[in-house]
Symmetry: C2
DNA sequence: GCTGAGATGTAGTGTAGCTACATCATCGAC
DNA sequence: GTCGATGATGTAGCTACACTACATCTCAGC
């Protein structure tokens, strides 16, 4: 999507423009810094500036603006504007638009949606395709699947448990820790345990994952960072979101987790024999008929 | 963010650029249509075109490209490019990039994340701030809250049930239909029932909502469209996502629902007395201590 | 205080985006 | 069927914006 920048090596192309500016800020020359500050102060306004306008606003000359663009890894001013526009389309991450108590509900909704979208974008950019591939392969080959997680991660487990039985593989996602532990202990060589924990440090989840490994099963982890859980997993999936810095900031990690589960489920569905998917389609339409709504209902989407 | 267009009245400023082009397509002049088709065929490439380049690709003259920009409600070519970039940053909606069985897992992940982000963007654009405000007010004033939903909507209910007890109001989200019905029947004048159903036609959910109303409670609905459920609700919240046209397309509606719940929870939290939020903060840090992780765990985020 | 390297600004150029006008097609009326 | 009028499309030219080469200035080190 975004054009990769072969220039400046310090920053990662998978970072968002505003992040990159913030990162590079200390290493910028004095007058370039002035430009950066103007941009960070009001990115939306900066997007509509012309080069001369930005130069004037920052009280520097036009070539300085050019050099600034080059420093943060853009091809030129045009490219800078486009990249900025793209970044802004995803919404300003919380660091740039904190929630405050005087916000109207409409504002609040705007900000939370923005934050969520930015987070998902980050997850998308940092997700390792190879690991996803491996996870799909492992799940396809499984005899039974156990999903474990607590709190918000438990919600993800439950969601997964709604989807995966569609593939004819027995699934469970018990909420109770003891039951989880028992199920993990019973793992066979083709059993897969999907252990979910945002921090990757949750003691109980770790215990269950260890039990599953000890019993000879395969462990897929879904965490927000590299952590004890991802270290012990056979297939570690890492979904990076933006840290929740504020009390008011809701947990976006669980949403990213849910989307990842969607990806896994869809990946598995695609690689299944076609006739089986036909059966799923039939089941779905029958389920829809059980309601008097005009179209398929919200349960059991693949 | 985007400048509102006083010109052409047909299209809504809250629509995404590609949607607008598709909408306007029939009413475009013949040679402008050629431009539109080139853009729709490969929007990513179009973004990097210069005006002359696009003109050549569509085999028309440069002014025609200009007129095309004006027709779809852009200030000029520059503006067109920026808006296109913004649209693409959100990812191509499924209509433009369908999932096919030959996709690699990395591709698949990309597409599903894109689709989800586009959907959330749509939800954000179509959400009614006034209704959210009313929902927050109603929830703030409630004596107890009941969340109901089945299938994927049940997941949303459960998620909500994890958040709202933080505000000191008794909450429940029973999975069992009969229990839901009983709870709804017991509604008092300050009881709030949040009924969740993407289609808004789910029979059981409707039954529970009606029972709650009959008992004198207030009903807040979360649906994907105006429907019987939203009609009977006191506060109807509508979260529009992109329809799930394909078997392989996962349900994004539940994600939008979850974000909406975040918005409601945050809205309520912000309007609560400050000392109460202090108590929540303390509870969260204690919960974090129960794990040996470095930071707060994934449950109980406000 | 001098020297040189790096930072910043000045002046100039090419081109991309835009506009005014001319030409051509299309359709209706006589 | 021809003429005229309206609207669509292309041509030519202009403005200004992004970009570049060069000069000047600042400041560190000697």
């Amino acid at each position: 999507m975004t054009v990769t920048q072969p220039t400046a090596a310090t920053h990662d192309a998978s970072d968002t423009l505003l992040e990159r500016i913030t990162q590079e800020l200390p290493s910028l020359r004095r007058s370039e810094k002035k430009v950066a500050e103007i941009v960070l102060a009001d990115p939306v306004a900066a997007m509509n500036y012309t080069m001369a306008g930005l130069a004037e606003a920052a009280d520097v000359s036009e070539p300085t603006v050019m050099r600034f663009c080059a420093s943060i890894g853009c091809e030129g001013f045009q490219d800078f504007k486009i990249q900025l526009a793209q970044t802004l389309a995803l919404g300003l991450p919380v660091t740039h638009s904190a929630i405050n108590p005087t916000d109207s509900s409409a504002n609040l909704a705007e900000k939370i949606f923005d934050h969520t979208i930015s987070s998902l974008d980050r997850a998308r950019r940092t997700l390792d395709g190879e690991e996803v591939e491996r996870a799909v392969a492992v799940l396809l080959d499984s005899s039974d699947i156990l999903f474990v997680g607590f709190g918000a991660s438990g919600i993800i487990a439950q969601d997964a448990q709604q989807k995966f039985p569609l593939f004819g593989v027995p699934c469970q996602a018990p909420a109770d820790f003891h039951q989880q532990f028992i199920a993990a202990t019973m793992s066979g060589p083709k059993s897969v345990t999907v252990a979910i924990s945002n921090t990757g440090h949750t003691e109980q989840t770790l215990t269950v994952a260890r039990a599953a490994k000890r019993a000879g099963g395969t462990v897929v982890s879904i965490t927000g960072q590299t952590s004890p859980l991802s270290e012990l997993a056979d297939v570690p999936l890492v979904v990076r979101t933006f840290e929740d810095t504020d009390v008011y900031t809701p947990a976006t990690s669980r949403l990213a987790g849910l989307v990842l589960v969607d990806v896994l489920a869809t990946g598995v569905a695609l690689r299944r024999p076609q006739e089986h998917n036909e059966a799923v389609r039939r089941m779905k339409s029958e389920l829809a008929a059980m309601r008097h709504g005009p179209d398929a209902e919200e349960s059991a989407e693949s």
